[in-house]
Every structure is written in C-alpha cells, then in structure tokens.
C-alpha cells in the first residue's frame, strides 16, 4: 500500500484536509459548533432536551434524538432546491445512529434532543463534517455523553486507500474507480457507529479502511477537544446568556 502517493492537493494518502473547528457559533442554541474539512463546511445546533410535540410521539422511557441534516441551496454547484429530499433524510437518520451510542437517552424520558446540521459549502465529506460538528454541539449543550463522536470518510481511488476524499477524488473514474466509505466512532472506543459505503472495494481491504479511519479519528478528537476547551477559556466565549 503506497502511502507515499501525492494527491492533487499535496496530501499523503492518510492525511485529512485542514480542519477548522469552532464551538458556540449560534448563541440561541443550547449548543452549537462549526466543523470544516478543507472546503466542506458544516454547522450544527442542538436544542434540548425539550418538550416534544405532539405528545403521542414522546417515548416515556427515553429522549428522542432527532437529527436533521440538509444542504443549503447554494452549498453545491447545481443549486439544491429547498425542501425535503431523500438523500438528506437518509443522512439524517444515519447521523442519529452515529451519535446515539454515546448519549444516555434514558436520562430524559418523553423529551426530544434536536440536532440541526446544515452544510454551507459542500466539497465531499459533508455527513462526516456534520457529525463532527454535531458532536461538539451536543457536548456544549451539556448533554451527558460518555464520549465525543468522530467521523471521517475513507475512500479509494483505483487501488489506493485515501483518507478524506475531495469531490474530485470522489469522482475518480479510472481502474476500480472511486469508493467512498463514511465512518464514525466514539473517540475512545474501537467500535463504529456509522458505516456507509459505495464504490468497489475488495472485502479484504475493508478492515484496513476502517482501521485508517480509526487512526484519523484520533486527531479529529484532538481538534474537537481543543475547540470545546477554547470556548470556555477564551475571553470572548461567544456564548450568550440568552
């Protein structure tokens, strides 16, 4: 496995794009954050636990984690018409499953924890950026969590495994073409809460792909930690009392 290959932006195979992470970007929210992988920018806001209407949707045994992911219309080259779409609904659901293992939902029965994720600029890896942002937002909202969740997409161009594909790399067509594998996991456990893939990859290569993702997640956790801590120690915490 050639790790010395150079990608069009100069990165090594196992390098992700420069990360930007900031917490407290939406003062109205109980918790909020922004996370970017290179040019892919996601913002997330958490409201809750709060009352869930209508009552019949409440679960008397636990809180409902309700995730909503979507692209802003101008985040993509071909304008996305505002409104519900199936791709976004699927991503919303897998995002919920990616995040729920670290939250003890039983602590807040009959309530809802709303996680809103929007992509401002899309250059591949949007769902992974969204999960990283949502994770920080949930923490800032004071939701009891056993861990943060980290997410990254591992991919393949022909036979080479790559971490954090750009859109260009997602569109790669030569040889085996492109494979895109979105992975998420609690930062400190070796278990995956999101696994989503399409492309063409030999089964024997899959464990290597997930191991690569795991390794990348360690550094993502560091970035999330730093952003959360900075929101507390910086003078302009960005938090407001409203």
């Amino acid at each position: 496995m050639a790790k010395e290959i150079k990608r069009s932006d100069g990165r090594k195979a196992d390098e992700f794009r420069p990360i930007t992470a900031k917490v407290g970007v939406i003062p109205n929210a109980d918790g909020s954050a922004m996370f970017a992988f290179g040019k892919t920018v996601a913002i997330a806001a958490v409201y809750g636990p709060r009352l869930l209407h209508p009552q019949h949707m409440q679960d008397p045994q636990k809180a409902i984690l309700r995730c909503n992911y979507d692209l802003l219309s101008f985040s993509v080259a071909d304008r996305k018409r505002p409104g519900p779409n199936r791709r976004a609904q699927e991503i919303s659901k897998v995002t919920e499953w990616a995040l729920s293992p670290v939250i003890d939902l039983k602590e807040f029965p009959s309530t809802v924890i709303d996680v809103q994720i929007y992509i401002l600029q899309a250059d591949a890896g949007t769902r992974t950026a969204g999960i990283n942002a949502a994770s920080m937002a949930l923490a800032q909202a004071g939701i009891p969590m056993s861990d943060l969740v980290c997410s990254v997409a591992v991919g393949k161009n022909d036979k080479t495994l790559l971490v954090d594909l750009t859109k260009e790399e997602e569109d790669y067509e030569e040889g085996e073409g492109a494979t895109d594998f979105a992975v998420a996991k609690p930062a400190n456990s070796e278990a995956f809460s999101l696994l989503q893939m399409d492309g063409k990859i030999s089964p024997s290569l899959i464990p290597e792909a997930t191991a690569l993702a795991s390794e990348a997640c360690k550094k993502i956790y560091e970035a999330q930690k730093a952003a959360l801590k900075e929101s507390v120690t910086s003078k302009n915490s960005g938090e407001k009392t409203k």
Binding site: D30, G48, L51, F108, S110, P144, D147, V232
Partner: protein, 245 residues
C-alpha cells in the same frame, strides 16, 4: 433590603454554590474537560457527579469543568438543561388554568403544576383567573418532582405572583455563580443597584427597581457574571465592575 432571596433558597439541597471565590488555601484543581477524556488515573479516586471509572481511569461523562477535590472527582456543569429538584425556586409563566389548578411553563420539558388549594385564600373555581391569570409570572418553589409532573407551591418568602419589573434568562448552570457563596454575589448586585431580584434555579431571573437605569445595570451585571465561566475572585472583580459601569 431584606434578603428575601436567601430565605427563599433555604430549602435547596445539593446546590453547589460557587467556591471559586473561596479563599481556602487548598482550592481544588479545576480544568475544562470533554466527554471521554481521562481526568485522572489511579485506584484511590472515586468518580463523582459527571464522571465514571473505567479500569484505572476516571473519565468525564460530560463537557464541563473537572474538579479534583480530595479523592472525589466530579465534572461541574457549565451548560445543559435545568434539572428540577425539590426545594428549587423557579420562575415560570402561567400557561393554562385547569379545574384543579394552574399550569406554569418553567422552561423545562414538563410544566409545573400549582394546585388550587395552594392559594392563600379560598378561591372559587370561576375566580381562578383573578388570583392567577394566563400569562402571569410567578416565583414558585418546587414541592415535588414525579415522573408525572412537577408540583409547585407559592407558599414561602419571596414567592408568589410577580408584579412589574421584568424577567430574563441565563444558562441554568450559571445560577450558582450568580447567587454566589451564601448569596454573596447576588447580595452585592442588589446592594449596588437597589433592585429586588429573585433568581430561579431554572435560569430565569426577575428584577424590579424603581429606576430604569438601575434595572438595566442589574441585568448587565448578572449577564456578565453568568458569562464568566472560569474566572476566580469574581466577587472582587464585580466590585470593580460596579465602579466602572
């Protein structure tokens, strides 16, 4: 000015008043911590509120300030939902009148309930809105917390329907800071601004002053205090703040 606020908070249990103002030479170690992060390692430590043990390590179960005080390790909440407890004073708004009492929105996933016989004099069912109408703001004490609901009472010093003044919200976890050790911080604010203030544990605060400028100043002071998460010696800093604002 009567220290109504302290009396109203007498029965509060388990509220950690802010002791970063403490002059205790053995002040506990504090630092920001994120979920999943190891706070300390060692078999002697005990996981307190917001922490858990995994093998050798004590690990954070939430985002907050890790506090290492003796053997017990806890994570102080700096954000998050208000958890109602018996004895808490809360500020709420009457949202509905039923045949048996008043429902109040206390900014929590469940409403508070004030039974009809809590009123100080006998109230006829059809006169209920003369005592408390929808939209009225009250300072109430939590009498009991059950899975079915939260019972409130208006019996107590400083409790009841709030007239004039205004209410605003801070993050509930910041309330201990605003109250201060044995009420020292809120007393300072009241003295410097000449305002009546009731602080609800649910993050809602009521202020009434005779002069508009005093009310504005009191709110600014409280919002400023609530914002200072990791600052120590806050009482002195606020004395200074009042000189300059």
């Amino acid at each position: 000015m009567k220290n109504e606020i302290n009396e109203a908070h007498e029965a509060i249990e388990g509220i950690s008043t802010d002791d970063s103002n403490s002059v205790n030479s053995e002040s506990p170690e504090r630092r920001p911590i994120v979920p999943g992060e190891i706070i300390v390692s060692g078999e002697d430590y005990l996981p307190g509120d917001g922490a858990r043990r995994e093998g050798e390590d004590i690990i954070a179960n939430r985002f907050g300030i890790a506090e290492i005080s003796g053997r017990v390790i806890k994570v102080i909440q700096i954000s998050g939902a208000f958890i109602p407890r018996k004895g808490n004073v809360v500020i709420g708004r009457v949202s509905d009148i039923t045949f048996s009492g008043w429902l109040a929105d206390i900014d929590y996933a469940q409403n508070g309930f004030l039974p009809i016989d809590d009123s100080p004099r006998f109230i006829n069912r059809n006169e209920m809105d003369q005592f408390l109408a929808i939209g009225d703001v009250v300072a109430a004490k939590i009498w009991s917390v059950k899975s079915k609901g939260i019972d409130l009472t208006l019996k107590g010093r400083g409790l009841g329907k709030l007239e004039s003044g205004f209410i605003f919200r801070i993050i509930p976890s910041r309330v201990p800071r605003v109250i201060g050790r044995e009420g020292s911080m809120i007393t300072l604010v009241k003295e410097k601004t000449n305002c009546q203030i009731t602080v609800g544990q649910n993050g809602w605060i009521w202020i009434r002053g005779e002069k508009t400028d005093d009310q504005i100043r009191a709110r600014k002071a409280i919002e400023h205090i609530a914002d200072q998460v990791m600052v120590s010696g806050l009482t002195e800093k606020m004395e200074e703040w009042f000189e300059n604002n």
